[in-house]
């Protein structure tokens, strides 16, 4: 992937100027991206406009590569599959004749995977709910509770692709060339990370967009975004979205105040 030959990108993580890589393995997979795109179209999985989704999928991968997010091999496999579907749809008679049954089967498999993936996500939400309930119960002499933070069920945790898409809107507003140019200045991800944490220090959730200084150079914006992803990966910061197309709110997990919890302290 392009990311690998851009190791000398001037976005630096520390004094040693090592390239800053956010490992996506702890984030989401290609099915999450597909589901994310499908949801944005607000149609049932079976009615997905495949050509459009394919274009958006590839675009997102390119964006991820630009951000050095190194999409894993699985993303490329799904991309290849999507491209095949698209080619089939465009060409009434494929240059290489292929078994139409096999092709239909392949498509059905992917759709089935998507549906199944949706079920898994629902199941995960259900577990999260359970986890929150169980976390509020204490056992004798327990040093720290087994479980976990309470969050309002209306609010969903923002996934990687929601953040990437939101970030695309941040840079799309810039009057600069469309491609992500390697910025001249050096922007330290560590510094941006400190800035984000300072903004969140009050414990008040901050809208995603407000993390990005308006008028800042592209390199600064990218470094800020990478810093945010790393903070999320390290569980120091969490991002929530108010519904599938809602505002993204970012808050620090160090702070006591919580997004959307209306718990009264008895």
């Amino acid at each position: 992937m392009r990311a690998s030959d851009r190791r000398d990108d001037p976005i630096v993580a520390d004094e040693n100027s090592t390239p800053f890589l956010v490992h996506t393995e702890s984030f989401d997979g290609p099915l999450d991206l597909l589901l994310h795109l499908v949801r944005r179209h607000e149609v049932a999985i079976e009615q997905v406009p495949l050509a459009q989704i394919t274009a958006e999928y590839v675009e997102t991968l390119e964006l991820m590569a630009e951000l050095e997010l190194e999409p894993a091999a699985e993303f490329l496999e799904v991309a290849a599959t999507l491209m095949r579907f698209k080619a089939r749809a465009l060409l009434p008679r494929p240059a290489v004749p292929e078994d139409p049954e096999l092709a239909a089967q392949e498509e059905a498999v992917l759709l089935q995977q998507l549906v199944e993936h949706q079920v898994v996500r629902l199941a995960a939400q259900q577990l999260r709910h359970r986890e929150n309930q169980a976390a509020a119960v204490w056992f004798r002499g327990e040093v720290s509770p087994a479980g976990i933070e309470a969050t309002d069920s209306e609010i969903v945790e923002a996934d990687l692709f929601t953040l990437v898409t939101a970030f695309r809107n941040v840079v799309a507003g810039l009057e600069e060339p469309a491609a992500f140019e390697v910025p001249r200045e050096e922007f330290s991800v560590a510094e941006c990370s400190a800035e984000i944490r300072a903004k969140l220090a009050l414990g008040v959730p901050v809208p995603f967009l407000e993390l990005f200084e308006s008028g800042a150079p592209r390199g600064k914006l990218i470094a800020t975004f990478l810093a945010l992803l790393d903070l999320i990966r390290g569980s120091m910061v969490r991002a929530f979205q108010d519904g599938p197309l809602g505002t993204i709110l970012v808050f620090s997990t160090d702070a006591d105040d919580d997004v959307g919890t209306n718990e009264t302290t008895a």
Partner: protein
């Protein structure tokens, strides 16, 4: 001893055990413990059903007293814990922040294991669409998932399942308490 005195004694004996135990205690074990402790005097023919209803009665008593304690059924056993209402003050006492939750990918992987157990890495991979290695490692480190055996298939891959700690962490009596996959499907179609 009158029968009612006996039953009060059973209730508080169970209460003592649940208070002292640091994990859920099954009804079988409660029967065993109480029988051994009484040894001769008292009810020699204590059975599981009696113990079960005593646990319910104990919970009833707590509720009637508006006690901070509750008897819960977790991981196929009974456990004494506080009611969620008192979470805030205990946090103040313990001066702990809310613990971090499992990441979404880890939670999703856990969901797949919970519903498909015993399942293999390859199966999880195909459902999740990505390599579950990192998430599985984390889940195993947290002792939420364990190797349960091997599949009789090419390469004899390991199979994975959830642990009792999983049940405990999510406050589940057993796996049947998880909503069924059909329910989710219906939810999607609605």
């Amino acid at each position: 001893m009158t029968e009612s005195a006996d039953s009060v004694e059973l209730l508080s004996t169970i209460e003592a055990v649940l208070y002292a135990a640091d994990q859920p205690v099954s009804a079988d074990r409660l029967v065993e413990l109480v029988s051994k402790a009484c040894d001769g005097d008292g009810d020699a023919n204590l059975d599981v059903d009696t113990v079960r209803s005593a646990c319910l009665e104990l919970e009833e008593r707590y509720r009637a007293n508006a006690s901070a304690l509750q008897v819960m059924e977790i991981a196929r056993g009974y456990r004494l814990g506080t009611r969620p209402h008192f979470d805030a003050i205990i946090r103040l006492l313990r001066q702990v922040e809310r613990p971090t939750q499992l990441s979404l990918p880890a939670l999703e992987t856990l969901a797949v294991v919970a519903y498909r157990q015993p399942t293999t890495i390859a199966e999880i991979h195909s459902i999740r669409g990505k390599d579950p290695g990192a998430a599985l490692r984390r889940l195993r480190d947290l002792r939420l998932v364990r190797i349960t055996g091997r599949r009789r298939a090419v390469g004899r891959p390991f199979t994975y399942g959830t642990t009792d700690r999983f049940l405990e962490l999510f406050g589940l009596r057993d796996l049947t308490e998880l909503p069924s996959e059909e329910e989710f499907q219906e939810l999607l179609e609605a």
